[in-house]
Symmetry: D2
Subunit: 202 residues, 4 copies
């Protein structure tokens, strides 16, 4: 079994993005499953071009993407991606599409086909605040999950895909003028391990 | 130099209180300073009786109390205690005083005499979200800080006292139906070490 | 032109539900458009049975449903409904379906076909805090919007449907132990008028 | 009986400040009590110079000051003012004092001597979300309340003084990119009338 983990570059003025930081700290195999690591540009279109190349090259069984969602109190596992982009801030190449359909031939939405509820339950069992989220937003996170699930539904029908949002890392929060909700990267890393093991043992 | 660290028993239906958990994990000396550890009952009057005995016994140079404040995003170091108790929930013996003066002969308020701003700055430098708080509430936390500062101002004039609020521990948050802001106990423990070292090196 | 406005009964222990309160205060015609008013039970299945009867009887051009979402700071106009019910609290008949598909033959999601962004823009222009929401939750609100949009897409293809969430009414907030975000029912009523006029003049 | 009502100029980039807007809408007498209205500059020192002149001129029995506190969900009546200024943003003349004592000869804090709890209870009775606040912050609001209470305690010993914080007005919230907690100015105005009547009938 092969899992492709993707994280994002820093964006929105942040110096780091914990999504890829915790991926870097993953071992290369977990319970016999091969772990492939990929950092995506926080850019519409290009993020999917880079991801598609890796999907074609590695033929992963599962694509699990991680992103950052400021102001959430814990880990959120996304249930659904919608066929819509509407960015309130520019991406890392200055694109800011508003009210844009992602795929003319795509469905309005796709449910994630990883075991969302089991992942959340196992994270909580492991002492990590977690919940299901029913919106991945309308920025690059929802965009990439939608593209992944489009592929699962129309191209690579044996593939599964999911998306996990992490809050600000504690160390990011320490640099802000006003306090924000945070989580330690150690706990984020543990949460990611729980998610991977839940997917492997599904 | 001797520092008396106090934490509280669990209250409000929680199974644990990170305030004393992180104190238990402290070494017995830090930079040559003796660390004394005390768990206080979350009870008006009795908490101070227990504390007063320890103060008389150990004659600490500094009393540093830790408590839990749900719904704060990071560590908060209290600047001031007011001569007022008004509890929205009962304490651990069922007392729920409303609009009650703590000390008839006390001042309206006392400022903490530990280096509040330096502690906050050093915590942030160490990667931990922190801020000064200008209200310790009107429950047992404010009560005990007020009693300590009354002692500093009227009885043990060489003593210093301060109060640090920690948020929910990550592991507490994992048990809640809805997610709440949390911090890992490792980070809380590091924050407490930073506070102690800042006080020692003042 | 005929618009069917629906609100919900009180639920979750509340004594009132501003969603139907503001509908009751609407005139019977707005700019020549007939306004039909309907209170729905806050009950899965039954809410749609009651709504379907009214849709069959009145043949409205637009169904505009209003519901309450605690803890939102202003009016939110829902962009999408998903084919999923997962209720954290029982409905008014004690049903609490978890992870349940609404329509086996329905799509994963439908976008609302009222002018969501124009409504939000016009509300803000009128001085009312408003935003687009990309999740209507997984309770009766999302359920009824999904059913409406299923009808628009598969049965009554000339019909349009949308959903507007209002926060707690100011008067509801005044009864709570801890303060919550609220909006005055006068402002909610104005917001609803703005939404109706935007739909009429689309 | 004479009540001097004070509000503040807009500050922090806002175009209006509801604190003086609602004062302007007050009648000149309420239940036989004379109402005097004064707009204060949002400037340390100068705000008190302007207020002191009005106090000397009108000899009010009560000074009731109103200010704006973003991000509170309802009306808050301040219980206490502390002898400290620490401004995170510049005032309207560019002053930004940090960690500054207001009165060298003043006490650490003064409790407000208007009937804080009765005002909150009566506001809630009137359907307006309200609570007691135990911190007026460390900006111009706390500064002016401290100065007023210093006068009550040391100069005009028959005078009473209090401070009420209002949230963003609904119309202010409508101009923001992200929604914030708001209250309608009609409800704020009603809340102020309740406060005045409670003070008169104390």
């Amino acid at each position: 079994m092969k899992i492709l983990l993707t994280g994002f570059e820093p964006f929105g003025g942040e110096e780091m993005n914990p999504s890829y930081e915790i991926i870097k700290r993953m071992p290369d195999t977990i319970e016999g499953c091969e772990i492939i690591k990929l950092e995506l540009p926080t850019v519409f279109q290009e993020s999917f071009i880079v991801l598609k190349e890796a999907m074609d090259l590695y033929q992963p069984d599962v694509v699990l993407s991680i992103g950052q969602a400021a102001n959430r109190f814990g880990i959120t596992v996304e249930k659904v991606a919608i066929n819509l982009v509407d960015s309130k801030i520019p991406d890392n190449q200055g694109n800011q599409p508003r009210d844009m359909i992602i795929r003319e031939d795509g469905e309005t939405a796709y449910f994630s086909n990883i075991p969302v509820r089991a992942i959340v339950d196992n994270m909580k069992e492991a002492g990590i605040p977690a919940d299901i989220s029913y919106t991945a937003g309308t920025y690059v996170c929802n965009y990439i999950l939608y593209q992944e699930l489009y592929c699962c539904n129309h191209i690579n029908k044996d593939m599964r895909a999911g998306f996990i949002h992490v809050p600000y890392a504690t160390v990011q929060g320490a640099k802000k003028e006003r306090m924000v909700p945070t989580m330690s990267m150690d706990d984020m890393k543990r949460a990611l391990e729980v998610a991977i093991k839940t997917i492997i043992n599904q």
